[in-house]
C-alpha cells in the first residue's frame, strides 16, 4: 500500500505529527482555494466586502471600551487598587461569555468539522482545528483586544509586572476561549434532541422567572440604587460579593495580578494555579463533547426501528386546512419546532429583555426615557426573526428544488412564509410587550399608538427587504447545529442595515415629536410610511416569480450545497 501512512505508531498520530502537519497544511491550502475561488463570483466579492466592513464595525465596537479598560487598568495599577483589576476582568469575562452564549453570530459559531471524519484525523488534530477556527470569532477578537488593553494599562503603570500580567492574562484569555467554545458546543448538543431541549427550556424559564422575582427584592432595599452599590452600608454587600468572586476565574486572575503588585509572588502563583484548574475543567468539558463528535456522534431524533407490527400512525395535522399557503406554514412550523438553533435564535432576544430589563429597572436609566421601552422592545423583537425573515429559503436544503418543480407559484410560497413569520413576530412581540409592561409599567397612549403605527410600517418593510435578500443573497442553514454558515456575512450585514434603517425611520419621527412634546404627531407620519412600505411589499411580492426564475440556478446552488 504505497503512499498510505502507517497506522500503528501512536507518535505519528499526535496533533504535531508529520501527518497532522500535512493535514493542517492541506486544510489551510483548501481554505485559501475556497476563498480565492469564491472571489470569482460577484457573490464572493460581496461577501469579502461584507467581511471587511463587519471587521471595521466590530473594531469600532471594541476599540472604545478597550481604551476605557486600558485607562482603568493604568489607574488601578498606579494607585494599587485591589478592586480595579477584578472589575475590569469581570467585565471582560461577562461580555465575552454573554455574547458567546446569546449571540452566536457574534460568537462566530462552531466550525463544521464532521466532513473530516472520513480522513485519518486524530482527535488532537481535531481539537486544535476546533480551537483555531474559534480564534476567528468576533467575540474572541474583541476579548483579545480588551485583554491586551488591560495588560498594556497595567504594564505602563508598573513595567515590573509586565511578564506576570502577560502570563496571567494569557491564561485567562485561554480560559475564556475554551469556555465560550464549550458553552456553545454543549448548548448545541442540548438543543439537538427533543428531551434535552425541553429540559433546557424548563431551566431557562425557571431562571428567567427567578431573575424577575429576585430583581424587585434587590431594588426594594436599594432605594433606587443599582444592586445595592452606593447604599448606606456600601462595604457590606461588596465584601460578601468580593469573597465569592475571588474563587471564580476573573477574581483569581485579578488577585494574581494584585498579589504580584504587592510582591507576593507565591500567593499570585497559587491564584494562577487555580485558574489553571479552571482551564483544565473547561478544556475537559470541551474534550468530552468533541470526543463524541469526532466519533461520528449521531444526534438524530430518529426512534429505534420498531419490531412491532406496522402501525399506521399518521402525524396529526398542525393546521387543519388545506391549500399551499397552509401547507407551507405547517411545514415551516414543523421545521421550527424540530430545530434547536432556530428556537434558540427566537429565544435569545427574550433572554436579553429579561436580563437588561432586570438591570434597568430602578436604575438611573429609568429616569431618562423609559416610556420608550415599548418601541425599543418591538425593535428587539424583530432581531430574533431577522435571520428567518432575511433568509427565508435557507432552511429548505434539497427541498428548494421541490418548490421549483411544483405548480404552486413561488409568490404563494413566499406569502406563506411571510405569514408564518408574522405570526412568530406577533408572538414574540406580545411576550416582550408583557415583559416590558411588567418591568416598566404601561406606556402612555400616544407612545402605544406611535409604536403600533411604526409596526405597520416595520412589518411590510422588513418582509419586502427580507424577500429581496432571501432571493438574491441566500445561504444554506444547518437546521440541526449552530454552525458557521458560508455566505451568511453579506446577508447578515445587509439584514442588520435594513433593521437599522427601519429603526432610524421610527426614531427620526418619534424623537422630534417627543422633544416638541407632541408624541401624537408621530402616529399619522408613521402611518404614511406604513402605506409606502405596504406598497413596496406588494410590488416585491408581485415580482417574486420573475426574480426567482432569473435566480433559480444560484438559489439551487447556494441552498442545496453541502458545505
Amino acid at each position: 500500500m504505497a503512499g498510505v501512512a502507517p497506522r500503528n505508531s501512536a507518535s505519528r498520530w499526535g496533533f504535531l505529527s508529520p501527518l497532522a502537519r500535512r493535514q493542517y497544511a492541506a486544510l489551510a491550502w483548501i481554505q485559501t482555494r475556497i476563498f480565492l475561488n469564491g472571489l470569482r463570483t460577484r457573490r464572493g466579492s460581496v461577501e469579502l466586502g461584507a467581511r471587511i466592513l463587519t471587521f471595521f464595525v466590530f473594531s469600532a465596537i471594541a476599540i472604545g471600551p478597550s481604551i476605557g479598560l486600558g485607562i482603568g487598568a493604568y489607574f488601578g495599577a498606579s494607585h494599587g487598587l485591589r478592586l480595579a483589576p477584578a472589575v475590569l476582568l469581570w467585565v471582560l469575562f461577562l461580555a465575552w461569555q454573554f455574547f458567546a452564549a446569546l449571540a452566536p453570530a457574534l460568537a462566530g459559531q462552531n466550525p463544521e468539522l464532521s466532513h473530516l471524519l472520513r480522513y485519518p484525523v486524530s482527535f488532537g488534530t481535531w481539537l486544535v482545528l476546533f480551537l483555531v477556527y474559534g480564534l476567528a470569532a468576533p467575540s474572541t477578537l474583541i476579548g483579545l483586544l480588551w485583554a491586551t488593553a488591560i495588560g498594556v494599562g497595567i504594564s505602563v503603570a508598573r513595567p515590573d509586572l509586565f511578564v506576570w500580567t502577560a502570563l496571567t492574562l494569557a491564561l485567562f484569555v485561554f480560559f475564556n476561549l475554551l469556555l465560550s467554545r464549550t458553552i456553545l458546543a454543549w448548548i448545541e448538543r442540548w438543543l439537538a434532541q427533543r428531551r434535552t431541549r425541553e429540559i433546557v427550556t424548563a431551566i431557562f424559564l425557571f431562571l428567567a422567572l427567578g431573575v424577575q422575582a429576585l430583581n424587585p427584592a434587590f431594588h426594594q432595599s436599594g432605594h433606587g440604587q443599582f444592586y445595592g452599590i452606593g447604599r448606606q452600608k456600601p462595604l457590606h454587600l461588596p465584601s460578601r460579593v468580593w469573597n465569592v468572586q475571588r474563587v471564580f476565574p476573573p477574581g483569581l486572575a485579578a488577585d494574581s495580578i494584585f498579589q504580584a503588585m504587592q510582591h507576593h509572588p507565591l500567593k499570585g502563583a497559587e491564584d494562577m494555579g487555580w485558574l489553571g484548574v479552571y482551564v483544565l475543567g473547561a478544556g475537559g468539558l470541551l474534550v468530552l463533547r468533541l470526543r463524541s463528535e469526532s466519533r461520528g456522534e449521531n444526534l438524530s431524533e430518529a426512534p429505534r426501528r420498531s419490531t412491532k407490527a406496522r402501525a399506521k400512525v399518521r402525524s396529526p395535522a398542525l393546521l387543519d386546512f388545506s391549500g399551499p399557503i397552509a401547507a407551507v406554514i405547517e411545514k415551516d412550523l414543523r421545521y421550527l419546532l424540530r430545530s434547536g438553533p432556530m428556537l434558540y435564535n427566537l429565544a435569545a432576544p427574550l433572554v436579553m429583555v429579561v436580563v437588561f430589563g432586570g438591570a434597568m429597572r430602578g436604575s438611573k436609566v429609568s429616569s431618562i426615557r423609559l416610556e420608550y421601552a415599548l418601541p425599543i422592545g418591538m425593535v428587539w423583537a424583530f432581531l430574533g426573526l431577522t435571520r428567518l425573515i432575511c433568509n427565508n429559503l435557507g432552511a429548505e436544503g434539497d427541498g428548494i428544488q421541490f418548490f421549483f418543480l411544483s405548480p404552486t407559484p413561488m409568490r404563494t410560497v413566499i406569502l406563506g412564509k411571510n405569514f408564518f413569520h408574522l405570526v412568530l413576530f406577533l408572538l414574540e412581540a406580545t411576550l416582550i410587550s408583557a415583559l416590558v409592561i411588567f418591568r416598566f409599567g404601561v406606556p402612555g397612549p400616544s407612545i402605544v399608538a406611535a409604536t403600533l403605527a411604526w409596526l405597520l410600517f416595520a412589518v411590510p418593510a422588513n418582509f419586502a427587504a427580507g424577500n429581496l435578500l432571501s432571493i438574491n443573497m441566500p445561504y444554506r442553514v444547518n437546521m440541526a447545529r449552530i454552525r458557521r454558515e458560508t455566505g451568511a456575512v453579506g446577508n447578515g450585514l445587509l439584514s442588520m442595515l435594513t433593521q437599522f434603517g427601519i429603526l432610524a425611520v421610527g426614531a427620526a419621527v418619534l424623537a422630534p415629536c417627543g422633544l416638541l412634546g407632541h408624541n401624537w404627531w408621530a402616529t399619522p407620519i408613521l402611518l404614511a410610511f406604513a402605506v409606502v412600505a405596504l406598497f413596496v411589499y406588494l410590488r416585491v411580492l408581485g415580482n417574486v416569480d420573475r426574480m426567482v426564475q432569473s435566480r433559480m440556478e444560484s438559489l439551487t446552488l447556494e441552498i442545496m450545497k453541502t458545505s
Partner: protein, 269 residues
C-alpha cells in the same frame, strides 16, 4: 397522428463558454417508456432540468403534452412528476408529512392526499417508521420517497433521474412493476440510468447523448441496425446488448474504451 408527449427542439444550454446541451431535438410519444442515456457529464441531468423547469434553456423550445413550457409552466407542472438528481426532499419532515405537504402543493384535497399518502407509504415499504425524519432515511429509502412524491398527484409524464440508484433489488422490482403499469395506462416515462440492463428491460425507446449532442435515438432494434450499418467488418452473430450498443456508439463518438483506460493507474494493486 397524436402529438408527442414530449417534444423538444434545438434545445441548447451554455454555462459561460461551455455548451452542456447542444441543439438537442427529441420527440417522445405518449405512453412510451423512454431511456435517456449518456456517460457522466454528457448533459442528461441538464436536459431533464430544462424539461422540468429547474433550469432555463439558453435557446430552444420545450413542449410537454402539447403545451409550451415557456408560456404554460404551471399547467405543465401540474401534469408531470419528477424525481430530480437532488431528490428535492425536505429532510426535517417525516415521510408522511412530506407526502401530505406535496399533495397539498399540487392542489389535492385533504382526503385524497391522506389516502394516497398511506397507500404510497405502504407500497414503498416506508410505513414502518412513521416518526423517522427523512434526513435519517437511507439513500434507497429517500429514493423511494422521492418517487412516491413524484406520483402522488397522478402525473401524465414522469421524469426520473437515476431512480434505481441505491434501491435494493426487491424494491427495484416493485418500482419497475409500478412504472410499467403506469405506461400501460398511458403515462409517459422519461428515465435516465447508468444501469443499462434495467433500461434495456424497461424502455421501448432509447436516446444517447454524448458531449451535449444527441448521438443516437430510436427503438433498440433501430439502434442495433444503426450500429450494424456503421460496422465495416463482419457483422456480430448475436444481438448486441444495450451495454455493447452504448459502448460502441459512445466510443465511436470519441470516448476512451475501458480496455484503453485500464492501461493507466499502473500503481494500483
Amino acid at each position: 397522428m397524436d402529438s408527442p408527449a414530449i417534444a423538444i427542439r434545438d434545445l441548447t444550454r451554455r454555462f459561460g463558454t461551455f455548451t452542456a446541451v447542444d441543439n438537442v431535438t427529441l420527440n417522445v410519444a405518449a405512453g412510451q417508456f423512454f431511456g435517456f442515456l449518456g456517460p457522466n457529464g454528457a448533459g442528461k441531468s441538464t436536459t431533464i432540468k430544462m424539461m422540468t423547469g429547474l433550469l432555463a434553456p439558453t435557446s430552444g423550445h420545450i413542449e410537454l403534452l402539447g403545451l409550451d413550457f415557456a408560456t404554460h409552466p404551471l399547467e405543465i407542472k401540474r401534469q408531470i412528476g419528477v424525481v430530480p438528481e437532488g431528490l428535492a426532499l425536505f429532510g426535517r419532515l417525516t415521510a408522511s408529512e412530506y407526502l401530505r405537504f406535496v399533495g397539498r402543493m399540487y392542489g389535492l384535497d385533504r382526503n385524497t392526499t391522506n389516502s394516497r399518502t398511506e397507500e404510497l407509504l405502504d407500497f414503498m415499504n416506508l410505513a414502518d417508521e412513521p416518526k423517522k425524519l427523512v434526513t435519517d432515511f437511507s439513500h434507497g429509502m429517500q429514493k423511494k420517497l422521492a418517487l412516491a412524491a413524484a406520483v402522488i398527484h397522478g402525473p401524465r409524464i414522469l421524469f426520473l433521474d437515476e431512480p434505481f440508484e441505491g434501491v435494493d433489488a426487491i424494491a427495484a422490482g416493485t418500482l419497475k412493476a409500478m412504472l410499467q403499469r403506469m405506461t400501460e395506462r398511458g403515462a409517459t416515462i422519461f428515465l435516465t440510468s447508468h444501469v443499462l440492463e434495467i433500461v434495456e428491460r424497461l424502455c421501448s425507446h432509447v436516446a444517447i447523448i454524448h458531449q451535449g449532442r444527441l448521438v443516437a435515438n430510436g427503438s433498440l432494434d433501430e439502434l442495433r441496425a444503426g450500429v450494424a450499418a456503421s460496422l465495416s467488418g463482419p457483422q456480430p452473430e448475436e444481438k448486441l446488448t444495450l451495454e455493447e450498443l452504448f459502448l460502441r456508439i459512445v466510443s465511436g463518438a470519441g470516448s476512451e474504451t475501458p480496455e484503453e483506460a485500464v492501461q493507466e493507474l499502473s500503481w494500483l494493486a
